[in-house]
C-alpha cells in the first residue's frame, strides 16, 4: 500500500477509536474502578522516572548555561532560563517521552497479547465493549495524569537547577529562586499544563490503536510495541512544535 494512503488510513482508524471512546463516556457501563487502577499504574507508577528525568534535566541546564550566562554577566538570570525552558518545553516533552516509553509500550504490549490470546474476542463474546473497558480507562488516566507528572517534573527540575547553581557555581539560593519566579508568567504555567493534555491523548490513542491492531502472533506484539513508542514519540515532538506555535498565538507565551 502507498505509504501516504496507509498513513491516512491509520489516522482514520485512530480518529474512529477516539470518537468511539468519547461517545462511550455518555452512557454506562463506565468501569470507574478500572479508571482509578489505570491512574495508579500510569500516574503513580511513572512518578519516579519522571521525577528523576526532571531533576537531572534541571541540573544539567544550569550546568551548561551558567558559564555562558556568566560570560555575559547574566549569571543572576540562570533561574529564569531554567524555569522558562523547563516549564514551556522540556518538562512537558521529556515527561511525555518518558511516559510514552514506559506506558505506551506497556499498553501496546498488553492489548496486543490480549488480541493474540483471543482475550479481546472473549471479552466481546461475553458482552463487554473493549473500548469501554480497556481504551477509555487508559486514555483518561493518561490525559489526567500526564499534566500532574509534568508539573512534578518541573518542580524537581527547578530543585535540581537550584542545587547545581548553589552547589557547583556557589550562587546564592535566593537569587536563583527570585530569578526563576520573575521569569515565569501565569501563561507559561497554563501552557505547560495544556501541552501534556494533548500529549496524553496522543500517546494513549496511538498505543491503544497499535495494541488492538496487533496481527501475527508474538512477533506482532513486538512490532506493535515498538511502533507504539516510535510513532507516539515522533508525534509528541511534532505536536509540540505546533502546540507551541498555537499557544504563542493564543496566550502570548514567549513573545517579548
Amino acid at each position: 500500500m502507498n505509504p501516504l494512503i496507509k498513513f491516512i488510513f491509520e489516522l482514520q482508524e485512530i480518529s474512529l477509536l477516539l470518537w468511539r471512546s468519547l461517545r462511550s463516556l455518555f452512557s454506562p457501563p463506565r468501569y470507574p474502578a478500572e479508571w482509578i487502577r489505570q491512574m495508579d499504574l500510569i500516574g503513580v507508577g511513572s512518578l519516579p522516572i519522571v521525577l528523576l528525568t526532571g531533576f537531572f534535566t534541571g541540573g544539567v541546564l544550569v550546568l551548561q548555561t551558567f558559564p555562558t550566562l556568566e560570560y555575559y554577566g547574566l549569571q543572576s538570570e540562570s533561574g529564569r532560563s531554567v524555569a522558562t525552558s523547563l516549564i514551556r518545553e522540556l518538562g512537558p516533552v521529556l515527561s511525555a517521552l518518558m511516559v510514552s516509553g514506559r506506558i505506551g509500550s506497556a499498553i501496546a504490549a498488553e492489548l496486543g497479547s490480549m488480541v493474540v490470546a483471543q482475550q479481546i474476542d472473549a471479552m466481546r463474546a461475553f458482552g463487554t465493549n473493549p473500548v469501554r473497558k480497556l481504551v477509555v480507562p487508559r486514555l483518561i488516566a493518561l490525559i489526567s495524569m500526564l499534566p500532574l507528572l509534568t508539573v512534578s517534573a518541573d518542580i524537581f527540575g527547578l530543585i535540581g537547577g537550584a542545587i547545581v547553581a548553589s552547589g557547583i557555581y556557589n550562587q546564592e539560593g535566593s537569587v536563583f529562586v527570585n530569578s526563576a519566579r520573575n521569569g515565569i508568567e501565569f501563561e507559561d504555567i497554563i501552557g505547560g499544563i495544556i501541552k501534556p493534555l494533548f500529549f496524553g491523548l496522543v500517546i494513549g490513542s496511538v498505543a491503544c490503536h497499535k495494541g488492538l491492531g496487533t496481527k501475527g502472533g508474538t512477533v506482532g506484539v513486538g512490532k506493535s510495541t515498538t511502533d507504539s513508542v516510535v510513532v507516539s514519540s515522533i508525534w509528541v515532538i511534532i505536536f509540540d512544535f505546533f502546540l507551541s506555535k498555537a499557544l504563542q498565538y493564543l496566550l502570548g507565551i514567549g513573545r517579548i
Binding site: 497479547s113 472473549a122 463487554t128
Partner: protein, 296 residues
Amino acid sequence: MQETVSNAERQEIAEELAEFDKAVNAPNRVKPVIEFRDVYLAFDDKVVLDGISFNVRRGETKIILGRSGGGKSTIIRLILGLLKPDAGAILIDGEDITQFTEEEMMAVRRKIGMVFQEGALFDSLSVYENVAYRLRELNVEEEEIEREVRRMLRFVGLEDAIDKMPNELSGGMRRRVGIARALVGDPEIVLYDEPTAGLDPPTARTICELAIKLRDLQDVSSIFVTHEMNNVEYLSSEYATVNEKGEVIFEAEGEKLCLINTEVLMLRDGKIIFSGTDEQLRASTDPYIRNFVFGK
C-alpha cells in the same frame, strides 16, 4: 381375546409414537436455533466461506470438521457477530443478526457461551473472577455470583482451583475453566472452537464428556469445531444419562440406537462437502473425506 390385547397395545404404542412425534416436532424444536443461509465471506481476495447453509436444532450438536485454516473458526466468529458476512444471512433463534450493531449483538451474545481454542482466560484475573466475568458485567449480587461460580467449577471438576491464577493452571485445566466461564448464565447455545487441540487423550475425553453432558442433560445446542476424529467418535456414539443412584453415566449408542442429536458437517475450501451422521461419514466414498477420516 388375544387380539384385543394386542390391539390395545398397538393403540398405546401409536399414542406413544404420536407423543414422541409431537415432542420432536414442537415449534421451538423445529425452528432452528442457528441458521446459516448462503453465507459468503472473503478476506481480501481469499474466499473463506463460499455459500454456506446449514442449521442447528435445539439440543443438537453440530460437529464441524475440516483442515486447519478451512474457515471452521470463522463460522463461530460469525455467529458471535465478531465478523460480518459479505453476503447471506445468519439467524439466531429466528432473528436475523446479519445487520445487528455491536450494541444489539450484546443481547444475542448473552444467549451464547463460547469456549475458545486455548481457553482465552483473562491473565490478570483469578479463576473465580474469570468465571464470574459475565455476571459482573450484568451487576449480579456477589452472593449469587459466588454460588454460580462454584456450581460451574464443580461441573467441570475444578472447584479447588477457584483462587488460582490462569498461569498456574495446566492446558487442560485452562480449557475447563474456559468451559465453566462459557456456561455461566446457562446459555442455550454453546460454541466450542477446537476445545481439545493439544490436549492429552484423557483430558480431551473429559472435555468431550462435558459437551455430551450439556447436550443430553441440559438440552444445549452447540457447534463443536474440531479436526480430531476421536472427538467425533465420542460425541456421536455416546450419550449421557442418569442412573438410579443419580450419577451421570455415559452409554454407547450400540447397535440398536442411533443418536439423532449429533451431526457432522465437513468443510473444504469454504464449501460444505459433507453433512450427515458419523456412520454416513465413515461410509463415504469421497477420497478427500476418506483421507481425513482414516488418515490415508
